[in-house]
Symmetry: C2
Subunit: 179 residues, 2 copies
């Protein structure tokens, strides 16, 4: 079997629940129940809910960026394709919303540490994509807006595809300039 350790299982379950229904949709009780331990035992690993929320946002960001590699690792167009593919995988392989897209929508209601990690996800993604667009020849300011436009479109495309229950729409949108 080689079950992952308890901390990993807590993070996995909390992340999955949060990516379905947001910050208020995961609970210590449900997580514990799924693992087969008691809710109080989850508190041994994560002092409180905002610590767990921040932990899943942090892990999500690290994994996401690690999967992307360095922004200058290949030709800019290939890196952009890779960026789109990362969202595509989150949507289709996981069958879930982007965690930070979800938290981003809820940002004004999140505990400060969770909001900060969410913001950091977008800042680091903006930086990464800006570097790609700069490598493609854009001026820094324009690169940043272009980065924002792509991130926005991909987050929105996830929402739209899931709401309309039409996953193929994600691919069609992510290949289309918006305005």
């Amino acid at each position: 079997m080689a079950q992952p350790d308890t901390v990993t299982r807590i993070l996995d379950i909390a992340e999955r629940m949060a990516r379905q229904g947001g910050y208020n949709s995961f609970s210590f009780r449900d997580i514990a129940g799924e693992i087969g331990i008691k809710a109080a035992s989850v508190h041994y690993h994560f002092a409180n809910k905002e610590a767990l929320g921040a932990a899943i946002a942090d892990r999500y960001t690290e994994n996401f960026l690690a999967a992307l590699g360095e922004p200058v690792e290949a030709a800019p167009d290939e890196m952009i394709q890779r960026y789109v593919a990362a969202y595509r995988s989150a949507l289709l392989d996981d069958g879930l919303m982007c965690l930070c897209g979800m938290f981003g929508a809820e940002i004004s209601d999140l505990p400060a540490p969770v909001a900060a990690k969410t913001r950091s996800f977008f800042e680091r993604n903006m930086d990464w994509l800006s570097n790609v667009y700069v490598a493609k020849g854009l001026e820094a300011g324009n690169a940043r807006v272009k980065a924002g436009a792509l991130i926005a479109q991909l987050e929105g495309a996830m929402i739209l595809a899931r709401s309309l229950d039409d996953m193929a729409l994600f691919d069609r949108i992510s290949a289309t300039p918006a305005p």
Copy 2:
């Protein structure tokens, strides 16, 4: 004073709370407290939470589409501008997320009636915008994807602008083609 009636106040408060933190962030208790009545009295107007959730999604959709007018009311480019302005107003005038963007992110965790209203918001918006793009000369299929791309970008731009606390980013993104 001319306070709006209780039903309207309930809807207003529930909508505002939902647009901040999602479906799980508004409660009969909080709504009642803000109006100055008891939680049980809110149940007189809305039998249960999913009825209230569906009601705010429905009212939001109707108001949104009413503000847009008919898709062929003016030149296509002007209608697109008007569409962008509707999101801009939701973000900047209200200072809130789009209700259905929020519900769309949470769609897999919503009670069926609320999910249906959310889906309906996007379907009707897709129809409306598709008509604009058709009027602009696009073939129906392409118009639909173009519509999806713009809706996605605007929903995502709201998330991004709020997460990065940079409202000007919304305007820059909504004027920029994404991929």
